[in-house]
């Protein structure tokens, strides 16, 4: 056997140091999906539990790895030493000890875990409720403002909530399993077809909290994103007020022509409140996001494209300094991206539309082969949806 080399310890130590540094830099500030953000009451409850657990795990990991390094250095065979080391077969006390000690540490963790599980399962009775629907590959949000059992606001990609108030989200799916996750506010909860799952979230401060579908849901799973927008109560009320309006009939000639194109093509899947549906479309209308107030959102196409240029800048909790409700007035409309989308949606986001057959399982937007002129007119109309 060749003589053992001396470089083992330094490498293990190096790996160890690397590991610690890596964990320490885990909570980078520029990571809007970071799980340790704790911007909501629920995520703070989780943090109170998980930060100590991660700490203990890191310490135990360092101790064990250090023990390995120590043993590897200390008990290395000397050359030409052919004597047997003492032949120990075990030590019952020691082994019982290191069976029981981890069990004891875990018992502490277990108590905290169980308490937290039931803490998080408690939902306030009088909280605002939002119905969340996952479908390939976007999130829909429905608000029953007057509590009559039918949705008064149907929107997509962005869920607007009042800051500082608990909100119960009723999570459902219209096709496959998705998972609703806003890491800054709470852990994730799956949207399972046929079931309704509840999740409480509360954003302590106004801001934009990003999320991502986290259960693999097919082709464009990566492209299924969402945001929670927490507004001051007054802004929230204003938003609610505006969202309940029907769309106005455009006065501008281009926009009016755009509406005609919309009614000819888009209305098959997209609804706009106040615009009559054509008859054949009734069955699948609503399979795609409701566009009544398209321009009040900061994103489109499943939350993956910014609708306003400024929204790309600044920190992730902010829309370039523009208040959310003022986006339609103050934002710089990201016209190019929307036109590119209308030109050929499957080129912008992987989708598997079935152009021959309108199925209730919408699998994305097909290429409608619109002409440049049609695109201009359509965009002119869409711009009026505020």
């Amino acid at each position: 056997m060749p003589a053992p080399r001396r470089r083992l310890p330094s490498l293990v130590t190096g790996a160890l140091l690397l590991g610690v540094t890596l964990l320490a830099t885990g909570c980078a500030a520029d990571a809007p999906l970071d799980i340790f953000q704790g911007d909501g009451s629920e995520s703070q409850i989780i943090n109170d539990l998980q930060i100590p657990v991660f700490g203990v795990a890191v310490i135990i990991g360092i101790l064990v790895l250090a023990a390995i390094v120590f043993i590897v250095v200390k008990f290395r065979a000397k050359p030409d030493d052919d004597d047997l080391p003492p032949q120990t077969h075990g030590a019952l006390g020691l082994e019982l000890g290191w069976t029981l000690l981890p069990a004891l540490i875990l018992a502490f963790v277990a108590v905290g875990t169980v308490v937290t599980i039931f803490d998080l399962a408690d939902a306030p009775d009088d909280a605002l409720e939002v119905d969340v629907y996952g479908q390939q590959w976007w999130w829909g949000f429905e608000y029953d403002v007057d509590q009559d059992g039918t949705a008064d606001i149907v929107t997509a990609n962005e869920m607007v909530i009042p800051a500082g108030e608990p909100v119960v989200v009723n999570i459902r799916s219209r096709d496959v399993i998705h998972s609703f996750w806003i890491p800054a506010l709470n852990g994730k909860k799956d949207a399972v077809p046929g079931r309704t799952h509840h999740l409480t979230i509360q954003a302590d401060d106004p801001g934009i909290y990003r999320g991502q579908c986290t259960e693999f849901c097919g082709l464009s799973h990566a492209r299924m994103q969402m945001r929670v927008v927490a507004l001051e109560r007054a802004d929230y009320d204003a938003w609610i007020e505006n969202q309940q309006r029907d769309a106005e009939t455009p006065t501008d000639a281009d926009a009016a022509a755009g509406l005609e194109i919309f009614q000819g093509q888009c209305v098959t899947c997209h609804q706009i409140d106040g615009v009559d549906e054509v008859e054949f479309a009734a069955q699948v209308s609503g399979a795609a996001p409701n566009l009544t107030h398209l321009m009040t959102r900061s994103t489109f196409a499943g939350g993956i494209f910014e609708l306003y240029d400024e929204a790309n800048e600044g920190d992730p909790y902010d829309l370039g300094g523009i208040p959310y409700n003022d986006l339609p007035e103050q934002g710089t409309f990201n016209r190019n991206q929307l036109e590119a989308w209308l030109r050929n949606p499957p080129a912008e986001k992987p989708m598997a539309p079935d152009p021959t057959e309108f199925s209730q399982y919408g699998r994305g937007m097909p290429n409608l082969n619109l002409t440049e002129q049609q695109i201009d007119l359509l965009v002119a109309y869409l711009e009026t949806l505020k």
Binding site: P2, P4, G19, L23, G26, C27, A28, P32, L33, D34, I35, F36, I46, Q50, V53, F54, A57, G61, V64, L65, I68, I71, V72, F75, D81, L84, P85, P86, T88, G90, A91, E95, W98, T99, V109, T113, T116, I117, F118, L120, Q136, I171, V176, I177, P183, K188, V192, P193, G194, R195, C213, T214, E215, F216, C217, G218, L219, H221, A222, Y361
Partner: protein, 671 residues
């Protein structure tokens, strides 16, 4: 000799059945002992083990290539090396391949080769069944991978959650190949698990009590028992999915009153024991390697055995920790959270016992020892991140992020695969009669260790930064860029290290040409397989050894001198068996296992494309079963290249052991 009478061995010494017709009149009984035909028809557990190894390594290269595609795509944000469609197939097949076609069969390679040797048997209980298992695995794996050329592979993830895997959402045939392919490889695993369980329980050498078995044999036994119970669950789930996809059955569709969570439960009831199926063989390997290179017995043998059993047992009660976010309710979450936490206890015991084995030893860092210590260190990291998952509220933040990907790669790559490589380097001289090169081996280890940590270490951070799993790309500006790039660099380092391993296999074989084989005991080892020549003769043991203690071979070499000090009393050559035994009857080779298993993929293609193919497959299967049934286990016309057993002249110095094969009535293998 009471013990031996209860323990039949795999050789016939009694009256032989004579048949005066060729079975079915199709094939002559194969007799080749060399050349390709000997491999195709072999029922020798060692040849089958070697074939398992090479086939699994081939699939390892396939799965590794898929991993490189994944890492290349994710190297930078908004990348488009592959389409989303292809990416989803690649990541699915990477997982399926590595779990079902690499780690499981690689472990099966070691189990097949070593298990009979470690318990002092001449073969497994059912040698033809063993061949059948291998061919089912190989054909199932090939069948699964032909989907790449027939319209695309499965794209639903290895977990294949319904309804995303229904025909509506996954209309290609990829998932049909997935279900049928895994059903075929499932037959392989199920047959093999029963075979090996029976082998361990019934075919141990005299004196080899359960608590004298090597830890590797113990861990393999636990794994086989897990497989016997876990495989029916996945088989059921796959058949339900198959019927949904092919025949419009409704098992998971909520609109038909079913529940998609049924699939999740079934899959993970199989899927979590599967994790232990993947890791325990490597725990066994490491438990063999560390004592040899520490020159100490394993510390706390009973704790090692019982912690393995405990892991196997508790492994059944933790499946829903894969479903903490699936809405199973706080009581279920709490229960599975607790059970998951406490499965860390027996795992921790194993790690500390390995450390205690090394403590006070005289450690030599040969390549197998490096890989073994690598496993202990890397698995510790994976185990601890596993404990953080068990904290359910925290897991709802971690699950389906790269933190999970990091965790299970530390467990399955840093754990299972490191252990398997330790095994390759450790037992290579036993199998081939020459060492793998130490220099290249060490380079392989260090490069793999560094590459591995560069690849999967950053994934902890990415996951905690919120990067989701199973995404074909990610946006710029989410903080994911740097670590993803590092991870990709690491992946290519791993690829280079695997090339070093292959170069090592190649060059060490060339160097060994014309050299005498290494002795039976090149590492000063402890268990029975080192007592017989390297490479192992076809019949394994000239005489079946009588076992008097744990580490039987070691205790034959070492003992107390007059001062009570433990010293070497005998050289390995004095103790080991000599090659060249004659008169040992072995089960004869057979065509039928490969014929029977070859029918299964045709049935698979038939169910997907046209029932005519299934008819052809059915004919092969039925012909295989009949041919098999009518074929005697032993070919009396060709007594397998050895002299008649009556000439047997035991020449060992252990008279008791020498008498044994002659005196004891033994049963023929019935497989």
């Amino acid at each position: 000799m009471a013990l031996t009478e209860e323990r039949p061995l795999a050789l016939t010494t009694g009256d032989e059945v004579t048949v005066d017709h060729e079975p079915l009149g199709v094939f002559r009984r194969p007799t080749a002992t060399e050349g390709w035909r000997s491999w195709v028809t072999t029922v020798d557990h060692k040849k089958i083990g070697i074939m398992y190894g090479y086939a699994a390594f081939f699939f390892f290269l396939v799965g590794g290539l898929e991993a490189l595609v994944i890492r290349t795509q994710l190297a930078v944000p908004d990348n488009s090396v592959v389409s989303a469609e292809l990416y989803n197939q690649v990541y699915t097949m990477h997982g399926v391949t590595m779990v079902f076609l690499v780690i499981m069969p690689m472990a099966a390679a070691f189990a097949n080769y070593l298990l009979p040797l470690q318990i002092g048997a001449r073969d497994v209980a059912f040698p033809r069944m063993n061949a059948f298992s291998f061919w089912c695995f190989l054909f199932g794996g090939i069948f699964l991978n032909t989907s790449w050329f027939l319209g695309g592979a499965a794209d639903g993830g290895w977990f294949a959650y319904s309804p995303n895997t229904g025909v509506v959402f996954s209309p290609s045939h990829g998932l049909d190949f997935f279900t049928l392919g895994l059903l075929i490889t499932g037959i392989a695993s199920l047959v093999s698990s029963i075979n090996l369980t029976v082998t361990v329980l019934n075919m141990r050498a005299p004196g080899m009590t359960l608590m004298r078995m090597p830890v590797f044999t113990w861990m393999v036994l636990v794994v086989q028992v897990l497989l016997v119970f876990a495989l029916p669950v996945i088989t059921l789930a796959l058949i339900l999915l198959l019927f949904e996809r092919l025949y419009d059955a409704q098992f998971f569709n909520p609109e038909a009153g079913a529940d998609p969570l049924l699939w999740e439960n079934l899959f993970w009831i199989f899927g979590h024991p599967e994790v232990y199926i993947l890791i325990l063989p490597s725990f066994g390997i490491v438990s063999e390697v560390i004592p040899v290179f520490s020159r100490k017995p394993i510390f706390g043998y009973p704790f090692m055995v019982f912690s393995g059993i405990a892991i196997g047992f508790m492994g059944w009660g933790v499946w829903a920790h894969h479903m903490f976010a699936s809405g199973i309710g706080p009581i279920s979450v709490a229960a599975f959270s607790l059970s998951t936490m406490f499965i860390a206890v027996p795992t921790g015991v194993k790690i500390l016992n390995w450390l205690a084995t090394m403590w006070g030893g005289k450690l030599t860092f040969t390549t197998p020892m490096l890989f073994a210590v690598g496993l202990v260190a890397m698995f510790t990291v994976g185990g601890l991140s596993g404990v953080t998952h068990s904290v359910a509220p925290s897991d709802t933040q971690q699950t389906d992020t790269y933190y999970i990907v990091a965790h299970f790669h530390y467990v399955l790559f840093g754990g299972a695969l490191m252990g398997l490589f330790a095994g390759f380097y450790f037992w290579w001289p036993k199998v081939y009669g020459h060492f793998l090169g130490e220099r290249l081996g060490k380079a392989h280890f260090w490069l793999m260790l560094i590459g591995f940590n560069l690849t999967f270490g950053p994934m902890h951070i990415l996951g905690l930064q919120g990067m989701s799993r199973r995404i074909y790309t990610y946006d710029d500006g989410l903080g994911f860029n740097m670590w993803n790039f590092v991870s990709t660099v690491g992946a290519f380092l791993i690829a280079v290290s695997i090339l070093l391993f292959m170069a090592n296999v190649w060059t060490s074989r060339r160097k060994a040409k014309g050299q005498p084989a290494v002795g039976p005991d090149p590492w000063d080892s402890r268990s029975l397989e080192w007592m017989i020549p390297s490479p192992v003769p076809e019949y394994n043991f000239d005489e079946i050894p009588v076992v008097t203690s744990r580490d039987e071979f070691w205790t034959r070499k070492y003992g107390e001198d007059e001062n009570g000090k433990v010293v070497r009393l005998h050289s390995a050559d004095e103790v080991c068996q000599k090659p060249g035994a004659t008169g040992i009857h072995l089960p004869s080779p057979s065509y039928w296992p490969i014929v029977l298993s070859a029918g299964l993929p045709f049935i698979g293609y038939g169910l997907i494309y046209s029932l005519w193919w299934a008819a052809l497959g059915g004919v092969l299967v039925i012909a295989g079963i009949y041919g098999w049934a009518l074929e005697p286990a032993d070919d009396d016309e060709n007594p397998h290249g050895h002299d008649d057993h009556d000439d047997h002249d035991p020449s060992g110095d252990d008279a008791v052991a020498a008498d044994e094969p002659v005196d004891v009535p033994e049963e023929a293998p019935v497989g």
